[in-house]
Symmetry: C2
Subunit: 481 residues, 2 copies
């Protein structure tokens, strides 16, 4: 610009170029486009953006959803029965497909069965319109499951499906969703901009179900361990992104139903596929997921006042280790007042001014106290919890354990030990942080270290976790070993 | 496993399957593989991992590097002359290619010229072995510039080139490096694991030069604005990752030379390509980059004692706005003691126990004080600075401005205003945070708001930034308007 402004011969070139379009034929004397040209523009729904297929919200209808409560697992008492969260959720998805045969699709990179959603194949097939051979499994031209071993294609297909007024869910191995980071970024930016365009109608949310997650890659190892997609998602506008870490099957049902009803969000749900303890009955799960965060009364013994320590957890495996640590603490330090808090909706940790789901400072302080030590076991990279809570009154006392990029092909308990997220290390963290405890708990602290060593030695000898670890359940009377 | 253990008929099936491999023919009575089989394995360098091409460090030679000081721009005084950082660096890269015609390549998604590294075409061409037509530009079969509009291919080529014992650099638009997030993750994991393998020799670092960055997408807008690759990189092991934000041309030269000499790292360098103020002479740049962080004495007026406020900055555009804010503060509040700190090596902010480059608490406290307000202007998403510093004594007083996902196709100054990173807002941040200042600076605070409105109005009327903003330079005598 400076050049044209300062150089008359360049200005003359520009002038001549612009005049080569013969503006006198295109505009009238007031500068308006002449009727001959403006009449060429399409009218009404023929306009590119007003075409309903380009403004999918115009075509969008609510999904017909079965009652997710009908798929609940029976939980007679917390932490005593095992269930597979995604297997249970698969039954719900099967009936979502049945009830919405033309407006819902499930997308995934060849992992629908691996992520234990196979129940959907009772209702539909994989989309396939080429030749089939003997042994081919659930392929049909009208299948509602879109499977191809390309996360890029899955993401692109789903975006197109949503933008044209339909609904869907992308199930993926947690580590490999990073393949579509850049595509997610652009979709999130599109949602932000679209919200400012008055004639754009809301579209269905982009739902990710990330399973086969970092903590249970018993056979695949380090390459399959990366919980960082959540960090990427959190950089986008608070109005757009939601992250859920349901700790068991019933909470996954409640969260999944909520996500499928929502509009204009990107919902990220991380849930395990392996047998894991059921914590909450359906009614409890609904209350817990609706709050998004809550004290688990049945696991806490501070009910008559202030806790000495708060154990926070988010994610299925961290929840297991936190509850097992709580059981140990109740045995080892019966007088210690322990409060257990589980987080399903990660955005609750943020300030209410930063995210629509954020807790007020009063609510946060009432949960996490203003001055007691907090040991927080988190599913992903630990820094995220600090980033979400750094403004909170009690932040200086929040100590976070999570995945710190230590992993290999090993047992589930060895994985948590490698990252200091295991029950024994959580007990050590409590000993180190509750004022006065370390001085009198030297022997117990050493026992915890010894139990880590024993647990590791067992894996090396037996190729699996010791039965008292893999078979641990929440005791009927906590603290009575 | 449980099934085979508990079910004798399944165990019998497993037994019969295993015996079908006829182990008695493969192992001797002590369980060792019989000689007939073991002799089939290749020996010495024929073993897959011992093959030098699969252990590239065996083949690696240092680059022959020109003296980067020879490419320095002359900086008679700070902030008074303009330079294009990547253009200057391009001259250095040209001669790296000349001196290493068989062991160095430059990779990029069709952006070498756009990122202003065109000087390399004085020494080499783009690799191309197909037909050429009139108008084709610098194509040749032996070109050392690998250009293809696929970030995936660029990353894959470079990884292969490094793993086989050569050197390279990937230049990319900052926003679109997210396309290779997942490939970066795997390379970083590979570097971590390889460091534990005794016979693996170090390989050259994977170097990213990210230009055309978030703050200068004057023509492209929101889709091209994403500084989040740094966040992704920071999740990987501290031993592997390095992030540099040189604020001008001479600091980019110093950082670039350092990166090309390093081994086994992933180096991320973010640098602008637009004309920008030169801050440091070459000697100053070397000192500053070697420290990685430092007080800019010439910009500070707290030299005789404690500051009232610390202005931190990292990245070229945040540095510009911070220095312009400093100039304003010196005019508006001559008695206010301001300390300016620039960060080149982002890892310096972390604790020394978290990262090898981390500052000790004593060093950090000496720079950022233990109790004064810190207003920190950062290139990327602001939360990262909190994540890096949450353990520091003075963290509660650190207030960060950065990119908060607000952007469109607009002028450079409108972009920083949209994200509250502009000089006027930084002055407001100082007024709001220095104890006692807000009470007496009500008029000035309002002036700053008015100047933001005027600056925006100017962009709407003229389609560019006002000359007093785009033409601002550091005054010979700061504080004398």
């Amino acid at each position: 610009m400076g050049d044209v402004r300062g150089n008359p011969s360049h200005l003359a070139l520009l002038d001549s170029w612009m005049h080569s379009y013969r503006p006198e034929e295109l505009f009238d004397e007031r500068g308006a486009v002449v009727a001959e040209i403006s009449s060429l523009a399409p009218k009404g729904a023929r306009r590119m953006s007003a075409n309903p297929s380009a403004n999918g919200g115009e075509l969008l209808h609510d999904l017909r959803l079965p009652d997710f409560r009908d798929y609940a697992v029976n939980v007679p008492s917390p932490g005593t029965t095992f269930g597979e969260a995604t297997t249970v959720f698969g039954g719900f998805l099967r009936d979502v497909i049945k009830l919405n045969p033309r407006t819902f699709r499930l997308f995934g990179p060849d992992e629908t069965a691996s992520n234990r959603l196979s129940a959907v194949f009772e209702a539909t097939d994989r989309t396939w319109d080429a030749e089939t051979i003997a042994g081919d499994d659930h392929l049909a031209p009208d299948g509602r499951v879109m499977e191809v071993l390309s996360e890029h294609l899955c993401q692109g297909w789903l975006e197109g499906y949503l933008l044209t007024g339909r609904h869907g869910l992308f199930n993926c191995y947690e580590a490999f969703i990073h393949i579509v980071d850049s595509m997610f970024n652009q979709h999130a930016k599109w949602l932000k901009q679209a919200a400012d365009v008055s004639w754009r109608r809301p579209i269905a949310s982009l739902n990710y179900l990330l399973s086969s997650h970092v903590w249970r890659q018993d056979h695949n190892g380090a390459t399959h361990q990366d919980p960082g997609f959540i960090d990427l998602v959190m950089n986008k506008k608070a109005a757009i992104v939601r992250v859920y870490l349901p700790p068991d099957a019933n909470t996954l049902l409640s969260v999944g139903d909520h996500c499928l009803r929502s509009r204009n969000y990107v919902n990220v749900v991380v849930a395990g596929k392996q047998p894991a303890l059921n914590w909450l009955s359906m009614d409890e799960a609904i209350r817990h997921c609706t709050r998004g965060i809550g004290i688990w009364d049945w696991a806490s013994n501070d009910n008559d006042g202030e806790p000495d320590v708060v154990l926070g957890c988010a994610g299925d495996v961290p929840t297991l280790e936190t509850l097992a640590a709580t059981d140990l603490l109740r045995q080892l330090f019966p007088e210690l007042k322990v409060r257990v808090i589980n987080v399903v909706d990660l955005m609750r940790l943020q300030d209410e001014t930063e995210h629509p789901h954020g807790l007020s400072d009063r609510e946060f302080d009432a949960l996490f106290t203003t001055d007691k030590p907090v040991v927080f076991a988190y599913h992903g990279y630990p820094w995220l919890i600090h980033r979400l809570t750094y403004r909170r009154t009690n932040h200086d006392n929040i100590h976070v354990r999570g995945y710190k990029e230590e992993g290999t092909t090993t047992t589930p308990f060895d994985m948590v030990m490698l990252n200091d997220l295991d029950r024994f290390h959580l007990v050590i963290d409590v000993i180190d942080r509750v004022p006065g405890l370390a001085q009198r708990a030297g022997h117990i602290r050493q026992q915890m270290q010894d139990r880590r060593l024993e647990a590791r030695a067992w894996t090396r000898e037996h190729g699996e976790d010791a039965p008292e670890i893999s078979g641990w359940t929440w005791p009927a009377t906590p603290g009575r070993a």
